[in-house]
């Protein structure tokens, strides 16, 4: 049990966010399965659903797993996990896995955004998270997309058609929504509004970033919002730096980190038992 064939180990990471639950399966250090499912009212079930979908895509079963780490806000109800680790530590490990030279991460998820400073081993040196409101998070973009009656994917594309960033004063999801509506009413081009919104989020997130004081080295952009090219370029401009985004879905970054930690911690445990 916990091992499909002699010498092969499988590890799982499950990241239950406010918006979606993500899971990644590792065979040693290689990603062999992944899944993203929406988070529903039952957080425990959502995490399990992600895990089982990832197991299915890897072609193995839960019994094959050696160790599972749960993270994200739903980590508190994850009976299926062997260990629970915060998303801060997991994101650091995930980003380090894809970009070994990374020195800092910006992660924008469904209901929070964070800046994490890394040491050379992918350990967290420092971190800052947003306040308890949704300003500058995926939730904010969702609310705006709804006000503009476009999908979240289209929101990203719309920026490309904008010729200037219309100034948006509010990053509060509620106030920004009414600001957008009045801008539309005054005849402002939709694409310019979207571009302005992306700058508003970028500025908000950049203040988080400045607080961790990371100057040199590679910066990584993770979380579901990292898929938004419009926001990414706005952030790059505001920060004056290039942001790396992994080819594997950046939304999976936390789950990847959780799976890596599952492996590290299990191996450490085995080593300890042998010693």
């Amino acid at each position: 049990m916990g091992q499909k064939s002699e010498g092969t180990f499988y590890f799982a990471g499950v990241d239950i966010g406010s918006n979606s639950a993500k899971s990644v399966i590792l065979k040693d250090e290689q990603i062999i399965g992944q899944a993203i499912v929406p988070t529903k009212a039952d957080v425990e079930k959502s995490g399990k659903a992600a895990l089982f979908a990832a197991l299915e895509s890897a072609g193995i079963s839960a019994e094959d797993l050696s160790y599972t780490v749960a993270t994200g806000y739903g980590r508190i109800s994850a009976s299926y996990a062997d260990e629970v680790i915060t998303e801060i530590t997991c994101h650091a490990k995930g980003a380090h896995y894809f970009f070994p030279n990374a020195t800092a991460i910006i992660d924008i998820g469904g209901q929070d955004s964070k800046a994490i400073k890394l040491d050379h081993h992918g350990n967290v040196a420092d971190f800052v998270m947003n306040d308890k409101c949704a300003a500058g998070t995926g939730k904010f973009l969702e609310v705006i997309a709804r006000a503009l009656e476009v999908s979240i994917d289209d929101l990203s594309l719309k920026t490309l058609a904008g010729d200037f960033a219309c100034p948006i004063n509010s990053t509060c999801a509620i106030f920004a929504e009414s600001e957008v509506i009045s801008l539309l009413a005054s005849g402002e081009k939709e694409a310019n509004i979207v571009k302005g919104l992306h700058y508003a989020v970028a500025k908000r997130v950049s203040t988080l970033f400045s607080r961790i004081g990371s100057k040199d080295g590679e910066k990584v952009f993770t979380g579901g919002v990292a898929k938004n090219a419009g926001l990414r370029s706005a952030l790059e401009e505001v920060l004056g730096t290039t942001l790396l985004v992994s080819l594997v879905d950046p939304q999976l970054n936390g789950a990847v980190g959780a799976a890596i930690l599952a492996r590290t911690n299990k191996l450490e445990e085995l080593e300890y038992e042998h010693a």
Binding site: Y73, I76, I85, T86, E87, I88, T89, D112, N123, V124, A125, D126, F127, M129, D131, K132
Partner: protein
């Protein structure tokens, strides 16, 4: 849990009744806000001092919005809410309210209590230039004037011998509290930080004589408690709490810390360690008291002209060392500007010494508990990893 803590609880249960009776017999109760008011003077005049101010209840804090706005200090809002509600036995039984004016919001709160609740109030001005001879002189005069007002309320003059006795009594309380607090420096303390704070807060309400006798009792008991080793020190996370007031009733952060298994080993909160630490009355006179109170470890609302002689920072660093804290948890109450202004300064100073620093900015609402959990837990992960690395490096060396 030390048995004596139950005796503190019992004493507190009887206290409201005692106050009612004392007032019926003509005694006056003086409510004290902030920590620059010499309690010794109040006590020596035969008045009953109570330290007031409450936290941790969002609903009561909401009630304060009727008089100030919701973008002001929740501690101040709640304290106004407590007076408005009129159920708290200590608020109800207060005849006169005094404030040593250091924090502007708290000062305004006392004005609200005067205007809207008709409370008699007395202000002791505290100079911002407390470190200069002019500031000291000013405060000495303030204390004299303040005492003259208290004499009117008490209907008698200050007696030097009684003042001396009160000074000795409060010094004894501080020393006994310090002795209890020092246990927190140990690997396995027989008393938790939360319990130490409860013991300190009991003194806000109990008569100083009763408080002292209970503190002594607790001290003798603590000496007899043998601790079994539960958690290996390498796996424990020892934090110091710094920052804004954590007033009686506010257990929000400590509850999360306890749930996560963090050991709080020190604090420098005005409602905690700073009630007794860094304090010596050189002579039992008004001038002596003025000097001692003004020279105490200052609130962040005071000015610190020089970082090198800043006693608040010195107190933080000394405690980190003496109590072997793995990191500092810097709590800022929403809209508490004095402490929030200093976040970056504190962080940089601690970073320079490689001491992990985490700011928690919060109020009395429950809606950010999940986020507090994540932040504290992430900080614990950082600390545990570092401790493991240090431990590993040491054992490698040993081999």
């Amino acid at each position: 849990m030390p048995e004596t803590l139950k005796r503190f609880e019992e004493a507190l249960e009887h206290r409201p009744g005692e106050l009612v009776e004392a007032r019926q017999n003509g005694k006056k109760v003086v409510g004290v806000f902030c920590c620059y008011t010499p309690l010794e003077i109040i006590h020596s005049l035969g008045l009953i001092p109570l330290k007031l101010g409450w936290g941790g209840d969002d609903e009561l804090a909401e009630q304060g919005i009727e008089y100030i706005t919701n973008i002001q200090c929740p501690y101040v809002r709640q304290t106004i809410g407590v007076f408005k509600e009129g159920k708290n036995p200590y608020a109800v039984n207060t005849d006169v309210i005094t404030i040593s004016a250091v924090c502007l919001q708290e000062y305004r709160m006392v004005e609200v209590l005067r205007y809207y609740f008709g409370k008699e109030t007395l202000t002791l001005s505290v100079p911002k230039n407390y470190y200069l001879p002019e500031g000291k002189e000013f405060f000495e005069k303030e204390v004299e004037g303040f005492t003259a007002e208290l004499e009117k309320i008490a209907g008698r003059k200050l007696d030097p011998d009684l003042l001396r006795a009160s000074v000795d009594l409060y010094a004894d309380i501080r020393n006994n509290t310090a002795e209890i607090y020092d246990y927190l420096a140990l690997d396995y303390s027989p008393i938790t930080w939360k319990q130490v704070i409860t013991v300190i807060h009991a003194g806000f309400y109990l008569s100083p004589e009763k408080h002292l006798s209970l503190l002594k009792e607790l001290n003798s008991e603590l000496k007899t408690i043998q601790m079994s080793e539960k958690v290996r020190p390498i796996n424990s996370v020892r934090l110091m709490i710094s920052g804004s007031i954590i007033a009686p009733g506010n257990t929000k952060i400590i509850d999360v810390l306890e749930e996560l298994g963090v050991t709080v080993v020190a604090d420098d909160i005005c409602s905690g360690q700073r009630t007794f630490a860094g304090f010596t009355v050189k002579e039992p006179t008004l001038a002596g008291l003025a000097e001692a109170y003004l020279d105490r470890i200052p609130c962040a609302a005071q000015l610190y002209p020089d970082q090198k002689t800043d006693k608040r920072l010195e107190n933080i660093f000394r405690q980190i060392k003496d109590h072997r804290a793995d990191g500092v948890l810097y709590h800022t109450l929403r809209f508490c500007d004095p402490y929030t202004f200093r976040v970056q300064e504190n962080k940089e100073l601690l970073d320079a010494k490689d001491i992990p620093f985490l700011q928690l900015h919060t109020d009395y609402g429950a809606n950010d508990i999940g986020q507090l959990h994540t932040r504290i837990q992430a900080q614990m992960e950082i600390i545990k990893r570092r401790k493991k690395e240090v431990h590993h490096a040491r054992s490698q060396k040993a081999v």
